[in-house]
Symmetry: C2
Subunit: 363 residues, 2 copies
């Protein structure tokens, strides 16, 4: 017997990357930050009192919204705190996309989008990126001929690491009448020389919703804290209608607020990861794994036919090194590799060197 | 300009009870527990390591599910951990109730239900309880003639505190072909002499979904942790399809697991609150506020025309005592009062005594 709605009965759930049980694993498969959160977050954790947990948290996460608004130069009304970035995506669909409507994204893209579309009984249409992962010239025309209600863009892009410019986003927002979601989960790792900042666009464009998360840039994947930045036209219905009243908890609010306040610490962390990214990219290319430049905390590497991406993934897993393999069109010959610590990256390179050389001794 | 779906554009959001900013308030308005969580929860909090927050939490909250399953004598597959009980309710609607379908509940009931129904574009039908707050004899017939897809019952009932029996629930589950949600947010405060336990029913009835929360009985409203108990027919699609992959965070999982393990501590706490409830009920009745027996951590008191419920609510608020007033049919002459500590309850009684006596000196 099944009680499910037909769209739910017919769908497959999202499969998250593996979370290994043992401790001796080098985990480069789900884009976590290799370094812990700031001492300010530690202090906030130590400041949590059991007695404060008796009471419901701030329903509107007022302190967090104030700090986030100040950090981004917007108003409190523009900040939508959520239980992880994934919740913001779900909330956006719940609020703005009716059953049967079209949601557009690129191919490839974040593999959660199709799942969220199924849950909301929407049709997800994937517009293929060009071979160099840039957007097709007629992207806006395609969006509009689809009559899409919503467009989901991850920028910098996952899983390719490519960044599209603020001007491109502006052009889409101006010419597309639907809701444009810019999923900036990886934005903290963009090279500052790119001068990438979409936040000011929300003043002019009521249809832009920017997603931020503390999972990657702030080393807090375990805390589940994300937020949206948007004009109140989009923010208000999510804040006051569709969001669970207490969607973020007391501890998460306190730690997230502290995390955002420790600017110097996180900026140094991002710089470290960018430097590691450059080194890892060079080393992978030298090993024959074709790895383009990335603006995120991961790289996408094309693996030569020998050993092949899936076999390399499995051989690394045997050595307790986890990377991400997607059995998907255009990705089945590639691996997505998170930037680890210097030691982790070096261990990865050593392992790949051995596997590629066919020596592959077990460690 | 609005981008909202029409059902969202036309709805009003849920208004949670006030969360006062100042500290010197006696807070009896949102059914929080007056005593803090157990020392075991404190130890779990102290055991949280920043470095563990770098990584995504257990997607399936495996440790918590094991402990909860053992606690209730069910299997892990029967436990659905959620970000507060409200998330379980939302997930159930998302998974099982299609747009346009009928969801039934009682009148009165938890005021979040109509909001969740609006979000899912369902029609909520409220079946009035009898004057003594018991279920009408033909409740099942009404459900079935409505062709309801889902029925939401809060048991023990909010805001009246009344308990319906396991036999009544069994009878509904047997004769109603839809999903029957038993919202047991307050079940921990039921008198043990009632021998109330619906959990074993999930083996026989695939259509029962029981809601539990750590907000009240475990003094953890600020943590946001709830869970469902159900046959895997209902549990699986929520666990593996519609739930956000990482809906409960690392800290919440750890603290919730510790909370469930400290049985002796919470049972003593519940007994204390039951004793306070008896005393408070007697004192309110003596003051002319007609207060029936309650199986929850609150009472519902009918206030005489002088001073009237809304005026008494306002007069208490002036004295920094918060209780809950619902401007709703059948409730506008009543106040819902959470059971506080002995001191808080005594302060409430003193204040009401003064207000009723018309002395009402400001303190």
């Amino acid at each position: 017997m099944s009680f499910e709605r037909s769209n739910i009965a017919n769908m497959q759930g999202y499969v998250p990357g593996e979370q290994p049980k043992q401790d001796n694993v080098i985990k480069l498969n789900t884009n976590e930050n290799p370094y812990p959160a700031s001492p300010q977050v530690q202090a906030a954790l130590e400041g949590i009192r059991l007695n404060d947990l008796r009471l419901y948290p701030q329903a509107l996460a007022k302190n967090f919204r104030q700090v986030a608004a100040e950090r981004h130069g917007v108003k409190e009304e523009n900040i939508i705190p959520t239980n992880g970035g994934d919740e913001l995506l779900r909330l956006a669909l719940t609020t703005f996309a009716d059953s049967g409507e079209i949601i557009a994204t690129t191919q490839p893209s974040y593999s959660l989008y199709p799942v969220l579309a199924c849950i909301q009984d929407c049709n997800l249409i994937e517009i293929p990126l060009l071979d160099d992962w840039s957007m097709p010239e007629d992207f806006i025309d395609q969006l509009n001929s689809l009559q899409a209600k919503m467009c989901l863009l991850v920028n910098p892009h996952a899983p390719t690491g490519k960044l599209i410019t603020v001007d491109s986003i502006k052009k889409i927002a101006s010419n597309f009448p639907g809701v444009l979601i810019i999923d900036e989960a990886y934005v903290d790792f963009v090279d500052p020389s790119e001068s990438y900042n979409c936040v000011p666009l929300i003043r002019e464009y009521e249809n832009i919703l920017i997603l931020r998360t503390l999972s990657k840039g702030y080393s807090l994947a375990g805390l589940r804290f994300g937020y949206g930045i948007a004009h109140k036209t989009l923010a208000n219905p999510m804040m006051f209608k569709t969001r669970d009243s207490y969607n973020t908890d007391h501890i998460a609010q306190k730690l997230a607020t502290a995390a955002l306040q420790a600017r110097d610490y996180v900026e140094a962390n991002w710089e470290t990861i960018r430097n590691s990214r450059t080194k890892l990219t060079d080393a992978l290319n030298q090993l024959g794994l074709v790895t383009g430049s990335s603006q995120t905390n991961f790289v996408l590497s094309q693996v030569p036919a020998e050993p092949g991406a899936e076999a390399l993934y499995a051989a690394l897993q045997e050595r307790n090194i986890l990377v991400r393999y997607f059995r998907q069109p255009r990705l089945e010959d590639k691996l997505r590799i998170s930037i680890g610590s210097e030691q982790e990256n070096a261990a990865l390179i050593t392992a790949i060197t051995e596997i590629v050389a066919g020596q592959a001794p077990r460690v």
